[in-house]
């Protein structure tokens, strides 16, 4: 009678079964680090170093430089240098310096497997739940404890069952589903909880869309989002891994698993969603905000910088040009995605349409570089957070949307319903 997360947490503890609300110690399979290593983690590590013999397992720590790459200023460059020296000193097996892409995309392409317990030094670590794993974000101190000991304490979250019903309409993606759910739940509606997805509509959701949904579960406050295994998941691992499918540790919930609440969403009625400034919970149908003037469009981030996003964006932008008052920034989430876009000719379409294509990085999403907003500017973005000042000036505004809506909007210079283009 356990949920997916309860099963994974129990399997990583010394317990046969765990229940929501209990505080347990659990072993982690992987620890993911970003440039946070060179910000606070190495400082916290210094305090602990004399008590431990190096890191717990150098092959189970994955460090990806992604937030400010290549370094836009000296401070970032110094942080990168600290990361490189640390990785060398402790002989990290997996140190991916700048070229690989955004950590979360790299993790789902190369490292995460079903049934794993993964922690990372970034709140969007929750993304990996799409692959039937338990993953969550930690701050620097908790990460240091995992790096040293391979374990930490976890409060077993209550699980919410999110049942997706109906058939997914055209131009509606994982982004629209999660924005609608956050609007229903509010940004604290899933605080401390696991959002476990179920229902007939999930069969039709691509892995890319599931990654988007789990990625933004944290915007409802969730500790994690998680999908059950199915054929699409097995197919995903068949394409990215040489391991036999039998070796996958697929975790399904028990039929009589206990959920704190159930929430149903009929996706067949869903329109593309747009979240108005300054909160992801402010989402409305795109038709309600059509005509809003924009200055920048951004397609990228760990939320929506994948093939599903770039394919539909290119389909809309093909042989057209962005509005003269609007700039479009394209940031693929990983090197693999960048290469695939090149192979499919999508980058040519984007550049001919007037876009700037950047290297894979968090970049504009965190207001770090490659697309910072001036005062009074408005951006429509496929990223995850439209918090005040997130992408630049405190008086700038961010609207969150799927990639199709961003593509349609940059053509017209105002927020535009993408359905008229396809």
């Amino acid at each position: 009678m356990s949920t997916i997360v309860e099963k994974i947490l129990a399997a990583h503890s010394d317990r046969e079964k765990v229940e929501a609300g209990e505080i347990i110690e659990a072993n982690v399979d992987l620890v993911m680090l970003t440039e946070q290593l060179g910000r606070r983690i190495y400082r916290d590590w210094d305090e602990l170093e004399d008590a431990v013999d190096g890191v717990w397992d150098k092959s189970k720590i994955v460090c990806v430089l992604d937030h400010w790459v290549p370094a836009p200023h000296i401070d970032a460059a110094e942080i990168h240098k600290i990361c490189r020296e640390f990785a060398k000193k402790y002989e990290f097996t997996h140190f991916l310096d700048m070229f690989a892409g955004i950590c979360h995309q790299v993790m789902v392409e190369k490292f995460v497997k079903p049934g794993m317990l993964v922690v990372g030094s970034d709140s969007h670590t929750v993304t990996y739940g799409a692959l039937n794993a338990f993953s969550t974000g930690f701050g620097a101190t908790d990460i240091v404890i995992c790096m040293a000991t391979g374990r930490n304490w976890f409060k077993v979250p209550e699980s919410m069952k999110i049942i997706l019903e109906g058939a997914i309409p055209p131009l509606v993606y994982g982004k629209d589903i999660i924005l609608k759910l956050i609007a229903k739940l509010t940004v604290e509606g899933a605080d401390y909880k696991s959002m476990e997805f179920a229902g007939p509509a999930i069969e039709d959701l691509s892995i890319d869309s599931r990654l988007t949904i789990c990625n933004m579960s944290v915007e409802a406050g969730a500790k994690c989002g998680v999908f059950p295994p199915d054929k699409k998941l097995r197919d995903y691992f068949r394409t990215i891994s040489d391991d036999s499918l039998e070796s996958l540790n697929l975790i399904s919930p028990d039929p009589d698993a206990q959920y704190s609440e159930e929430l149903e969403l009929d996706v067949s009625e869903l329109n593309p969603q747009v979240a108005k400034p300054h909160s992801p919970q402010n989402s409305v149908d795109v038709t309600e905000v059509e005509g809003t003037t924009i200055h920048q469009g951004f397609i990228g981030s760990c939320t929506n910088g994948r093939m599903e996003d770039f394919r539909i964006a290119a389909c809309i932008l093909k042989e057209k040009h962005t509005h003269p008052d609007v700039r479009l920034i394209i940031t693929p989430a990983s090197r693999e995605i960048y290469l695939q876009c090149l192979n499919e000719g999508l980058m040519k379409t984007f550049i001919e349409a007037g876009a700037m294509v950047t290297n894979p990085t968090c970049g504009a999403c965190i207001g770090g570089h490659l697309g910072i907003l001036a005062s009074k500017e408005v951006c429509i973005s496929t990223s995850n957070r439209n918090f005040q000042s997130r992408m630049g000036h405190a008086d700038s505004q961010i609207y969150l949307a799927n990639a199709a809506t961003v593509a349609a909007s940059v053509l017209e210079g105002v927020i535009t319903d993408p359905r008229k283009y396809v």
């Binding site: 505080i23 910000r39 602990l48 401070d75 930690f138 605080d191 909160s279």
Partner: protein, 170 residues
């Protein structure tokens, strides 16, 4: 570490996110004092200058939502904030703040009971908050003993260090 905190109240609204506490563009600043000078800059640019050691934030629900940046509780601690009272906290912020030794007290309807500038006394062990200005006392949620141990050890790193030494001794 002393579990009694006394200071002035600074009030904030609901869903205060980590980008408001410390915007992403300041996370690469290496000097902690300089980074902390930007605390709450998007909404209260004067805050970092005016706050005093031992002061307390009283906020609406879901304080600290958003990113996992430990810099958020870190800058608050650096400028002197000793405790935060709110109806609820975002999950990662909650762990981060306790790991750094900041007292967090959950109190339903907290913003209704305190005005900006009120002087309060907080006993984090007991979970009590006395509003000295208005002469009222409130009972917040006590930290579970497991987390109080972390606070009493002076933070999570010290607590783990002690545990590792104990385990090695066996």
């Amino acid at each position: 570490m002393s579990s009694v905190i006394s200071g002035k109240v600074w009030k904030f609204g609901d869903n205060i996110d980590t980008d408001l506490i410390i915007p992403g563009r300041y996370l690469t600043i290496r000097d902690p004092i300089q980074m902390a000078s930007h605390t709450f800059e998007p909404i209260r640019p004067e805050f970092a200058k005016e706050v005093a050691k031992g002061d307390v934030i009283v906020s609406g629900s879901n304080f600290g939502s958003g990113s996992s940046r430990e810099e958020a509780p870190f800058v608050l601690k650096t400028i002197g904030i000793a405790a935060i009272v709110a109806p609820s906290f975002a999950r990662i912020f909650y762990r981060n703040a306790i790991n750094l030794g900041i007292s967090l007290l959950e109190l339903k309807s907290a913003p209704e009971y305190f005005d900006e500038g009120d002087i309060v006394e907080i006993n984090s062990e007991e979970g009590t908050i006395i509003n000295l200005t208005q002469n009222t006392t409130y009972q917040g949620t006590k930290l579970p003993p497991f987390l109080m141990d972390i606070i009493n050890a002076g933070g999570a790193i010290t607590a783990v260090k002690e545990r590792i030494k104990r385990e090695k001794g066996h």
